[in-house]
């Protein structure tokens, strides 16, 4: 059953890329017209510890000015029994070769299956050009178990957050396809376990965009024994006004 769901999601992603025809507004970059963006995606995958999982995520971004934005995200995942919520904000600095944005994010995760509460604080800088984007930042993660109470917890040493993405077409094109390598996802930050995968986006109507990802999340990347840990697919819609 899990294989069938995964196959359907993957097929839907591929078909959506094929039918896309219009232009794309880069993620969280103000397009000069619309001040609000709301998006949602469905995800599904398989994880070594939790087996199959699936869930829904929503995101809202408000462009206060062409330079400043704020927003928030939330997700619920079944299988992992994970609930997440975050608030974030950032400043975009246009330069000759694209944009550099400076972002901050505060995120709360509740891993109900394991009984862990987690807080993550991230600051990062992202350079986004026509074909390539690079992200560097720092993340501080604190967690504790709800079984043992608030007093028991551990704060990790700051984690380097990094990401690299490359698109096959200029980012202003109506559809695009790219590769990414990164040690984070929308709702988690890792140390040196490097996610990689395929991402795409496509505009289907004036205000509607489709997007998706196929994400391989190995364990042990820096141990040089990167092993199967998690594979997942996302398929989402974004609306702006």
């Amino acid at each position: 059953m899990r294989k069938i769901i995964l196959t359907l999601l993957l097929t839907a992603s591929v078909v959506s890329v094929a039918i896309a025809q219009n232009s794309y507004i880069p993620y969280k970059t103000f397009d000069g017209e619309h001040k609000n963006e709301i998006s949602g995606y469905a995800m599904g995958g398989n994880n070594v510890v939790t087996d199959g999982f699936g869930g829904l995520a929503v995101s809202y971004t408000r462009h206060l000015t062409p330079r400043w934005h704020v927003g928030g995200d939330a997700q619920m995942q079944f299988g992992k029994e994970l609930f997440s919520v975050d608030v974030q904000g950032g400043y975009r600095l246009p330069i000759k070769w694209g944009n550099i944005s400076f972002d901050g994010k505060i995120m709360y995760n509740f891993y109900h299956k394991f009984g862990f509460h987690e807080m993550a604080y991230n600051i990062s800088a992202t350079w986004e050009s026509a074909y390539v984007d690079i992200r560097l930042g720092e993340t501080l993660v604190h967690y504790h178990s709800h079984v043992w109470g608030i007093g028991w917890g551990y704060t990790e040493t700051p984690l380097l957050t990094f990401g690299f993405g490359v698109n096959i077409r200029h980012r202003d094109n109506p559809w695009n396809l790219g590769l990414f390598f990164r040690n984070y996802d929308d709702f988690y930050y890792e140390n040196w376990n490097i996610n990689w995968g395929i991402r795409w986006y496509a505009r289907i109507k004036q205000r509607w965009n489709l997007f998706g990802e196929f994400n391989i999340r190995p364990a042990g990347s820096m141990s040089q024994l990167a092993s199967k840990y998690e594979g997942s697919v996302k398929l989402g819609l974004k609306y702006k006004w």
Partner: protein, 345 residues
């Protein structure tokens, strides 16, 4: 994209591909994205070996007589043996001199190359000779060995005497498909055993519990998670457990920022922390990052050991840990000094 930019892009791609296909003895760059030795295969083989060789029984009854007055064991990590066996020999000699009951190793025992594993095997063989000389008597008539001090000494052939060295597997033991070499010597990377320390008022055997996990790949893998959830390592319900010690190559907590080492992914770290709580673990020993660290989380003591390798830690230092448990069951941890220094070339 301009022509110049396109050339740079192609050159960078070719360089990355070349890098991923290049390998040296210690590094396996392609393993950053995909592995050659799968944890599922290792655990399947290990569990089969563990059951068929009755590993948990093999050690327990040898030691029952020798722990009533307390005992100690020695732990080392990341020896990365190549051609210099100085530190490994020193670890064994320290343990034999102190009458430590057994030795545990936290993985990355040898860098993966057949020659290095032959060196490791020779080192273990020499240590076994010293061990047998110290703890066994040889009967000239029957040509059998008897453990000194045993209440009921059982005759043994030399090959049946187990040198008490209990390792977990590390990532450097496995790069370049080293599992064939490692498993040939040690058999299983996933096992547990008990050390009997007494009998309670109900006649139940009181034991200390030792659990060894295969975390070399930075994940337990699906099969190992399933086996743990099935309770394969939970021990036996007819034993009464006093202390539980867990051994893992990959560490849970990162001792310092910007360390180029993978630890467990989020869900798996939380799964393990919950599991340690279920096992009522006393101490979790980890290696991997070549950096000393100690943490207490929910009453579980986490010790991450520095590398004992003469290349990673060339200066003499406290690279080993000894756990002493006295006859009253009081547990004490001490760092043990190593003084071997590699000769200058």
């Amino acid at each position: 994209m301009t022509m110049k930019a396109r050339h740079i892009y192609i050159a960078a791609t070719l360089a990355a591909v070349a890098m991923l296909n290049t390998s040296c003895e210690k590094v396996s760059p392609q393993g950053v994205l995909m592995a050659g030795t799968a944890v599922e295969d290792r655990v399947e083989m290990s569990y089969k070996y563990y059951r068929e060789n009755n590993m948990e029984q093999k050690f327990d009854y040898d030691l029952e007589d020798f722990t009533k007055d307390g005992y100690s064991f020695l732990v080392g990590a990341d020896s990365h043996i190549t051609t210099d066996l100085g530190r490994m020999n020193e670890m064994f000699q320290i343990g034999l001199d102190n009458d430590d009951l057994f030795f545990c190793h936290l993985g990355d025992i040898a860098d993966t190359k057949p020659d290095y594993y032959i060196n490791l095997q020779n080192c273990l063989s020499e240590a076994k000779v010293k061990y047998v000389e110290k703890y066994y008597t040889f009967d000239e008539e029957t040509h059998e060995y008897y453990r000194k001090g045993a209440q009921i000494p059982l005759p043994k052939e030399y090959r049946d005497i187990q040198f008490p060295f209990f390792p977990v597997v590390g990532n450097h033991d496995l790069t370049h498909n080293g599992w064939a070499l490692w498993s040939n010597i040690f058999g299983s990377s996933f096992y547990e055993f008990e050390v009997a320390v007494g009998v309670d008022d109900n006649g139940k055997l009181i034991c200390d519990h030792f659990i060894f996990l295969d975390t070399a790949s930075g994940t337990l893998g699906k099969l190992q998670v399933d086996l743990i959830e099935q309770g394969v390592l939970d021990g036996k319900n007819y034993y009464n457990y006093r202390y539980t010690f867990v051994f893992s190559h990959t560490n849970i907590f990162l001792p310092q920022h910007m360390q180029f080492a993978s630890t467990f992914p989020r869900e798996e770290a939380y799964f393990l922390l919950k599991q340690f709580d279920k096992w009522e673990a006393s101490i979790v020993f980890c290696g991997h990052v070549h950096k000393w660290d100690e943490q207490v989380f929910n009453g579980v003591y986490f010790l991450t050991l520095d590398s004992m390798s003469e290349r990673n830690s060339p200066e003499p230092g406290d690279y080993l840990v000894r756990v002493n448990i006295d006859k009253d069951g009081i547990l004490d941890i001490e760092k043990v000094h190593m003084s071997y220094v590699a000769p200058k070339k």
